[in-house]
């Protein structure tokens, strides 16, 4: 099976608002697939659906052949051990240091001796360039460093699938470049299937093998980066070029301006 994740007819709504309306989406094994779209279009929600933290109202989500939205809790927790997630905030445990953060999944899921855990943690930290920061507490890290530590933690158990939630947001250009390189290197060196949720067009297009653009609950464009750049859909073009007004309006829906002022 060439697809690690297979989504069919996904429908999801929350608080009366439709987030996804019958979308189909495939994530190829060993590739970097970017999910792009404007803020609030449901990109993070999609990651939570793939991870089984949310249940769709309709449709099916298969991860490695397993119907994730129907799995019992214990099976779901087992399959999550094959997934790594890099949260937007890093989500490091604030009461333990960098070393213990990365050792956490190893201690929870393996019976490895302490010296082996130490070696693995140091290797993971070395791969993100932060071996020297192993004794720091999360509140002593910059935003970019925290995300790199979180990345080291996400790959601690050598997952088959890694999901990045807005990994470039709020970073300076150097840190941004470091994360882009790490995402690409990890994918190529370890062959980890990668889902990259982002609205940073330049970075995503530079490393993704395939891209889905989501807006208004639908997939409005998909394809390899070079194909997507030539997409005729005005909504896709507005997003890729960062135009402030267009198919996606500048103004949030409201009653007539004059009427609102006079009322």
């Amino acid at each position: 099976m060439s697809n690690l994740v297979n989504i069919q007819g996904l429908y999801f709504n929350r608080s009366g608002r439709t987030i996804f309306s019958d979308i189909d989406l495939n994530i190829s094994r060993g590739k970097i697939t970017a999910i792009m779209g404007p803020s609030g279009c449901g990109k993070t929600t999609l990651l939570r659906l793939i991870g089984g933290q949310l249940k769709p109202k309709r449709g099916s989500i298969y991860v490695d052949g397993q119907l994730i939205n129907r799995l019992p809790r214990t099976r779901l927790y087992e399959i999550r051990r094959k997934m790594g997630v890099l949260f937007q905030s890093g989500a490091l445990f604030t009461n333990i240091n960098v070393f213990e953060n990365i050792a956490f999944p190893l201690r929870e899921h393996t019976e490895l001796a302490d010296f082996m855990i130490r070696d693995i943690v140091l290797m993971k930290l070395q791969s993100v360039g932060l071996r020297g920061a192993k004794n720091l507490m999360p509140n002593q890290l910059s935003g970019g460093m925290a995300r790199r530590v979180a990345l080291a933690r996400a790959i601690a158990l050598d997952p088959e699938l890694i999901m990045y939630d807005e990994p470039f947001t709020g970073l300076d250009p150097i840190a941004r470049g470091v994360i882009v390189k790490l995402v690409s290197d990890l994918n190529q060196a370890l062959g980890i299937t990668t889902i990259l949720v982002s609205h940073d067009v330049k970075e995503a297009l530079s490393i993704a093998d395939y891209i889905y653009v989501i807006a208004s609950g639908k997939i409005i464009g998909q394809g390899a980066p070079e194909k997507l750049r030539e997409d005729k859909n005005p909504e896709v073009q507005q997003f890729l070029r960062g135009l402030p007004d267009g198919v996606v309006p500048f103004h949030y829906p409201a009653i007539d301006y004059t009427q609102d002022l006079l009322s």
């Binding site: 997630v85 604030t94 899921h109």
Partner: protein
Amino acid sequence: MLILDKLRLLGQVGLELLMSLGRSGLFLTQLLIRKPQFKRSFPLLIEQLYFIGVLSLVIIALSGLFIGMVVGLQGYNTLNGFGASEQLGQLVALSVVRELGPVVTALLFAGRAGSALTAEVGLMKSTEQLASMEMMGVDPLWRVIAPRFWGGFIAMPLLMVIFSAVAIWGGYLVGVVWLGVDGGTFWSAMQATVNFNDVVNGIIKSIVFGGVVTWIAVFQGYDTVPTAQGIGLATTRTVVYSSLAVLGLDFILTAVMMGGW
């Protein structure tokens, strides 16, 4: 139209309350029916017993001392009017063991440890630490919530025993050392009137209070809206709900224990 709106609002508030009760019931059930993993859970439990129990010792001991001293002083002045100041030991011990010990310990516990638990769990939720744990295949109910719940459940009766012992000593300091009540009479009056049931009933009360206060605290943290305002409100709710629950349950338990129900 106005009445209809008010009725709708009332219905909405009622439904939200029922849903919250349902969620908290399910939450407690999930905590209690969990398969115990003693070897892995024990260090986590010890850690929480330290944070919840040991770090509450100072406030519990000091409060116990002052409350015992106040009861001793008030009791002496009242009893002395009837020439019965030798009954001071009985008054202090029964007040503390039956009521003040369990209730005041629970109220202090809700204010100190309960609010801290809610804020800690709420902050872990808002910073996605609980979500990241879930995505690592580690159940936060087992790893984060259960040790805190059982830590509070175990710590409360122990704190109550310490509170009561210090309060009785406070009563002794005021009554015997300061006001001159005979020491032998103080202790013998206490020994003659406080029976084993009084002590057991006090402990039962504190076990119930410990379970309820910790349940409220961890649930409010886990169920909080993950924003700064949400955590603030959840912390306030923990203290308010816990205090009301303790006082209400105290009346019910007292009535049952005294055979009035």
